[in-house]
Every structure is written in C-alpha cells, then in structure tokens.
C-alpha cells in the first residue's frame, strides 16, 4: 500500500517553530531504506535549522526545529519533495530484494 504521512507544524509559546512528521512504511526495511536515502545530505542552509530523522518499527519520523517559521517551511517543503521522490522510486522499482 502507499505510505501516508501525518505531520503538524506548531508555533509554541517559545519563539522556535518546530515540526514533526511520522510516515508509516509497509515494513521496517523499507522505512530504513528511506532513512538511509534521505539522511546523508546536509541542509543547504548552514544555520537556523536542525532536523533529525529516525526509524522506529516501520515508521520514519522527522523532527525539525528552526529559528524562524520561514526557515522551517523551506526545509520541510524540500524534505517532502525528497520523500515523495524516494517513495515513488520504491513503488516503481521495489520491493527490496531478499537479503
């Protein structure tokens, strides 16, 4: 099935905007494949944003915090584009071979 994500962006009482995204995959292996494809590249912007990608079970989780909402938006949008490309690739050329 096609993985679906749930995300929310929250402006907390602190000045630092955060966002969290949880994406279920059909298996832990596939979530890990996505993680290893999406994590190597550094954020283009040197400061003002931090992003953590992890896998737990078959869910890929991303947590952001940024100095400004604008910076957060750029990073989240970019990540969503990348995630959708990875997912489309997995759909077209998967499932992963037997290990």
């Amino acid at each position: 099935g096609t993985p679906r994500g749930q995300g929310r962006a929250t402006q907390l009482s602190s000045p630092f905007p955060v966002c969290s995204l949880d994406v279920p995959f059909p298996s832990s292996r596939e979530a890990t494949i996505a993680l290893r494809s999406l994590s190597p590249d550094k954020e283009p912007r040197k400061g003002g944003i931090s992003k953590l990608i992890t896998v737990s079970g078959s869910t890929l989780s991303v947590r952001w915090s940024a100095d400004e909402a604008r910076i957060l938006r750029v990073s989240v949008n970019s990540f969503l584009d990348h995630l959708s490309l990875v997912m489309e690739t997995m759909e077209m050329f998967g499932p992963p071979v037997a290990v």
Binding site: I33, R36, P40, D41, D81, T89, M90, M92
Partner: protein, 318 residues
C-alpha cells in the same frame, strides 16, 4: 563481466547510462532548456530532473535489455555541480542501490568526463582539456591523481558563452554554445577583446563584462553584428585555451590532447553525444573505481557542490 549503471544530473542535463565492460548499452538523457535570455536556476533544474528521472531510469534498463539483477554497481555524481539537482539524482541512486542490493559509488563529475574520453579515444596518456558550462581545467594524470595544471580563476568558458548568449538573446535550444557557434560561422569582422591568460591559468569574467558592454554599444550603433561578436568571442576564448593547454603539454612532454566537457562539442562533432553530460560517463568512471575496489557507504554518499578533480585517488591507474 561488470555492469554499472551511472546517474548524472549536476547541471541542466539528466542522464542515466549503463556500461558493460566498456560497451555503452544505453544512455538516455533529457535537457532542461530555458527560454532565450534566461539561464537555469537550481530549484527549477531540480524540479525538471525530478519529473523525468524515473522515466529515464526505466528507459535505461529497457534500452539495455537488462533487469536490476544484472547490474553490479550503482554509480552517481557526488559532485561538483548544483546542489538541488545533485540531491535529486543521488536520492534515486541511493534508493535503487538499496532496493536492488547493489553497492553504491559516488563519482566526481569531471573524472566521469575524463574516463569516458579515455574509453572512446583509447588515448594513452593525454593532456586533458576539460571545458564546460561549469568547469575549465587543464588536467594531466600523474601518480594516482588527475592533477590540475591550469584552470579558470573565475568563471568557466562555457559559462562565459552561455551568459553572452543571454545578452544577445539567442535560443538555448539545443544549447547556447551551439547557437553561438552557428552564428560565428557567419561573422566577418574580428572585434578585439581582452586576452586574459595568466600563466598556467585563464580568466573569463573580464572578457564577459567587456563583451556585454560592447554588445550594447556596438550593436546599437551598427558597428558590428551579433555574428561578428560571436566569432570574435569564440576565437579569443579558444586561443586562450590552446595557449594554456600547450603550456601543460610542454610541461608533461605529452603529444595528445583529450577535449572533454560540453564546450568540447564545438568543432568536434564526432564525440558530440559523450562530450555533453551523460549517465554513461558516470557509469564508466564507476566501472573503473568499482573494479579497483572502491565503494561509497551510504552515510558518506552526501553530494557536494565543490569537488576538485585532484581530490580523488585514482586507484585504477598506475
């Protein structure tokens, strides 16, 4: 038998090629062409590549008549180039490498050009003139490194041509350099331009600002035509490149020059399809690297906009 698939998308071309022991099995490519007067920006270029990359990948496999199981290694451009397009391509390469259970190899784009040039020409140990929209270097192999003997100290020669094409608003289809070359053939008047060789190196941004200025003044006053400027620019740029290449050849005692990179298409139509960025050149460099025992771990597979040709240890040559 070793089969390598190579992914390239560091500028406005997205190409995926498959090589088996020196034979190009497939090499499909798409080019992002902008309207006259406009260059290509990273985010738009990445969007272009993203829209077509999976189709091109399917084509590469179908045209080669291969299945993923037949592939031994997945090579991709680690750098140098534009960040957003490099990431788009690396994402797909990393994903299929894991889906298919094949090792990954990050390739230096410039070395891709060199290895494809060596494969096609079978030149023994040439001096390499690497000229494109993004790079201008004179390179010679020595003791496990592709050493940069001379280079541009500012912009690439192809960048100079591309930006001049924008000023006179000629078409970017199939490429601005190609259209400048066609117009240059109709030029009859030589307009003197600054000649800026600096020892082993060259500089192009001075010529660019001079000719941009000259274009506005001389074209409106009718002193010369666009064709004359195209002709004069080509002659000046290529004379400068010849000078620094000859200097390097004298240093190395070399008799052959290998010209690679998109600007090399100018006047050298035979190797046209391999001079321009393509996937097979990345596959070929990947083939050499893989067979000499190199592999890129996923954690180290990040792309980089700057990546000098001499940073790579050339483990596949003596």
């Amino acid at each position: 038998m070793t089969v390598v698939i190579g992914f390239e998308g560091s500028a406005n071309k997205i190409g995926i090629g498959i090589i088996r022991d020196g034979e190009v099995l497939s090499n499909p490519r798409r080019t992002y062409i902008t309207p006259p007067g406009q260059g290509f920006l990273p985010s738009d270029t990445a969007r272009h590549h993203r829209a077509v990359i999976l189709t091109v990948l399917k084509e590469a496999l179908e045209q080669a008549g291969l299945k993923p199981a037949d592939i031994d290694c997945v090579a991709y451009t680690k750098g140098p180039g534009m960040g957003a397009p490099l990431v788009t391509v690396a994402l797909v390469a990393r994903t299929v490498s894991q889906l298919w259970g094949k090792p990954l190899l990050g390739v230096n784009h410039c070395i891709g050009h060199i290895e494809m040039g060596r494969l096609i020409t079978k030149a023994n140990n040439p001096t390499v003139l690497y000229v494109s929209g993004g790079n201008t270097q004179v390179i010679a192999y020595s003791e496990r490194r592709y050493r940069i003997f001379g280079e541009t100290i500012d912009i690439a020669v192809g960048n100079c041509l591309d930006r001049f094409a924008r000023v006179i608003k000629i078409s970017n289809d199939p490429s601005p350099g190609y259209n400048i070359e066609q117009m240059a053939k109709k030029g009859s008047q030589y307009v003197e331009l600054p000649y800026t060789v600096k020892g082993m190196d060259v500089s192009f941004s001075g010529i660019l600002s001079y000719i941009e200025d000259a274009a506005h003044k001389m074209l409106s006053s009718g002193q010369c035509t666009s064709e004359d400027l195209c002709f004069s620019l080509q002659e000046t740029l290529f004379s400068m490149l010849v000078e620094i290449t000859e200097r390097a050849m004298a240093h190395c005692g070399s008799q052959e020059v290998l010209i690679v990179g998109g600007v090399g298409c100018n006047k050298y139509a035979e190797a046209f399809k391999f001079c321009i960025d393509n996937g097979a050149m990345i596959a070929q460099a990947g083939w050499e690297m893989f067979r000499s025992g190199q592999v890129t771990e996923l954690e180290d597979s990040w792309i980089t906009q700057r990546y000098r040709t001499d940073e790579v240890e050339v483990t596949w040559r003596d």
